[in-house]
Symmetry: C2
Subunit: 360 residues, 2 copies
């Protein structure tokens, strides 16, 4: 590989085919004489790009027609506020949050500004090393929604099952595992995802929401953050992040070319197994997450002797492997292996880990 | 020209040199083996890109150190809300707005959700054909700020002078004329600009604010929309729109290479004069804006016989000139001629207009 092997948690690797096509089309998209960046968002060329991106995303995730798809800005972190602004008022002014790591904890904290956001369950007591057992969740049948983060990038904990929240809509922050496996959208009231892991460039966030949940926005919410208004105007109340939507569309096309999200799931299972098997067989490396809740996307691991961390990272970088350092709050290592990471990249890492352990 | 001549009001033309460099660097930025889109926003490569973009913008506009520069998301339209959330509470809970067209009117409407936003002056009575005379402005010395839109893209009205608001900070939406001329930043408390006209891709918005105005955010404002928190974290509370910041940085470098904003002003004066002179000398075309308040960036014009509009547009398109149709609320034509529009593009338009009139 002439490219580096980039284990960044996000922004993250993109398929090389997507980058090549973007480069080829940069100054002249499809013979229009314009870059996508230069196109009026109300013009026929961009409108076609936008519609195709939405159509392909709907196809990839089998999104039913009674769900709106919104292409927004501000990242998932802004949605931590925008989501309760739009949904916490729909019934009792309350919502249930399940805390499984740093991101779901932040989502809960922001929601508390807008209503009675309750922590229905948490694994903080055991250092966010698992998904709390569903039998222990304190769900309230009068809640507006139940919120989960389907994959925690820092801790490396993933929901490998979909909770049953009965008549209360389930809402998931899927920023870091959307499109990594098939999901049954009907099991969710809404989901949202920042683009910079499995979709495209930072600065785009996608919201998928069942239309009957729209229309309960809290007073004082700017129209530009009102899901109902956004759905009505096809995400174009103001200028959308057009180039980011275009790149996302190229990624969606690439996913379709690969065989869709079922193919990605097979590859992601194989990649994760390769790495976790290496860790579990080793006495130098350790992953502390309950095996059934381990993330396929983000694999944190610690070296038995943290004094070896710097040497481990330097040796990896010498072989072209970058961004393996764990999150500053977690320490150790973290390998993020989203859709665009080829299995050869993980194999290179595993080979290096074995070799490093042998020499250590 | 093999490229079209793109008169879009935004997203708009970008310098061809910028697009070529972006294409060249798409898959491998400066030998890192990574696209800028793939870089961790906390990594050294992106941090350097971000810092260079800010440094060059500060250089171009001579922004003093006691002003913070923020790279944000959501467009200027989100700032219509975020600005009062951050500033209307700093003194009396009131602010003065000057209405000169559709955009400043929208800004006023949004501000009313957050405090006592007053219309200090308006030219709506004469169809937004001028800037209201400063002697007629009803400014209140206890206001938190005075808001103007320095250039109205739809009407084609521009402030060619800076109002004196005494001790009350002046705040300007400069989305469509930032970097088109030198400005004295010290005359402003803050300014903001969506990127998609004179800066770069849609999805980036820049806020420049005097630091002593920070810290008066209304309760309930998400931290991610709090200017003080954003300034403290260098716009990186969450992932910034990294690729858009990179493209903006390339545009800033291009502007420096051209000779800076003083050179751009000379060119923009020449381009606007060429087009307005053509309109004023004609009996077919008409621009209804008071001459001293005409925009250098957006030149709307009407044909004496609107029945000729379609033929005018078709003939222009046949010569590679696109997006000349006026805004749907204004009708007629509009030529947007931002920094990246070369004078040759305006000359081609003027030649066509003369020829069309001769044959009409």
């Amino acid at each position: 590989m002439s490219k580096v092997i980039n284990f960044s948690a996000g922004p993250a690797m993109l398929p090389p085919e997507v980058l090549r096509q973007a480069a080829d089309e940069m100054s002249d998209w499809h013979g229009t004489g314009q870059s996508v960046m230069e196109m009026s968002h109300r013009g026929k060329h961009y409108m076609a790009i936008h519609a195709t991106a939405e159509r392909d995303l709907r196809g990839l995730l089998a999104i039913p027609d009674d769900y709106a798809v919104l292409f927004l800005q501000g990242g998932a972190s802004l949605q931590f506020s925008v989501l309760p602004m739009n949904l916490i008022g729909r019934r009792s002014g309350a919502a249930d949050y399940v805390t499984t790591g740093d991101w779901s904890k932040k989502a809960l904290r922001e929601a508390r500004r807008y209503g009675q956001a309750r922590e229905a369950a948490s694994s903080e007591g055991t250092g966010f090393d698992r998904i709390p057992s569903p039998g222990d969740w304190q769900l309230n049948p009068d809640s507006g929604y139940v919120h989960i983060c389907s994959n925690e990038t820092i801790g490396g904990v993933e929901f490998n099952w979909i909770p049953d929240t009965k008549d209360v809509p389930l809402i998931a922050d899927m920023s870091s595992n959307i499109l990594s496996r098939p999901i049954d959208i009907r099991r969710f009231g809404a989901l949202y995802a920042g683009a910079q892991k499995n979709i495209g460039p930072a600065g785009l966030v996608i919201v998928i929401i069942r239309r009957d949940l729209l229309g309960h926005t809290l007073p004082g919410t700017p129209p530009i953050l009102d899901y109902a208004a956004l759905a009505e105007h096809d995400s174009m109340i103001n200028t959308p992040p057009t180039y980011s939507v275009y790149i996302a569309g190229l990624v969606f096309q690439w996913l379709l070319d690969q065989g869709g999200v079922a193919t990605m799931e097979d590859r992601n299972i194989a990649k994760a197994k390769l790495l976790y098997d290496c860790i579990d067989a080793s006495s130098l490396y350790r992953n502390r997450i309950a095996p059934e809740d381990r993330s396929r996307m983000n694999v944190p691991f610690q070296l038995a002797d943290p004094g070896l961390d710097e040497r481990f990272l330097a040796g990896a970088e010498a072989l072209g492997m970058v961004q393996l350092k764990g999150h500053r709050t977690a320490g150790g290592m973290r390998a993020s292996i989203y859709n665009a990471m080829p299995i050869e990249g993980v194999q290179t890492l595993v080979d290096y880990m074995c070799e490093f352990e042998r020499k250590a």
